[in-house]
Amino acid sequence: MSIQVKFFASLREQIGLADSIIEQASTADEVWAIATDNAERPDNMLVAINLEYAKLNSSVSDGDEVAFFPPVTGG
């Protein structure tokens, strides 16, 4: 099993990591815990699985791309 993990913007800077690959996880929350070595989860953090918004308890599968990022501020 291989899951691609991405962090963006202020979260990327806080974690000190843009990309990571982890080998085992069943939910986005577990992906976070493993990839960040159990860093605290920001309250307003957003999660996307395979480019679609998801929840922390959404399940993940082999080959998924899981992204964590702060509230968006475009436009």
């Binding site: 800077e13 996307a48 918004y53 992204a67 702060p70 501020t73 436009g75």
Partner: protein
Amino acid sequence: MAIIISEQIFDPWKLISKHQQQSQLASQFGATASFIGSMRDFNDDHEVSQMVLEHYPEMTQRYLEKLEADAKRQWPIIDCLIAHRVGHINPADAIVVIACWSAHRRAALDACNWLIEELKFKAPFWKKETRNDSDVWVEHNTSG
């Protein structure tokens, strides 16, 4: 229907005008509504000298395409353009352009209004402002 994500500065009016010419739909639409968001040199009482716009490229493209498709399902729009800058941005630069074309005014106006709200609160872009000498991530968009 078009999505443009650009690292280069663009003239929003030329962008809309060019898209409209290329679409060759003139005389079919009676209404065009547009919104342009541009960079101010102050924000929340701070002077801002420049800005970097980060995004999640694959998700951005997909999310903006979804927005256009959703708008087209909700309103009888004939055509739609969304353009967004990324990378280094200077004051007065256009950041986002939304334009909607429809037969009658309500569809174009309502779709344009909906698209900018959706984009601002859901499309994966993040602004980092340079205030005096420090770089600060913008934490949230203004409510209006």
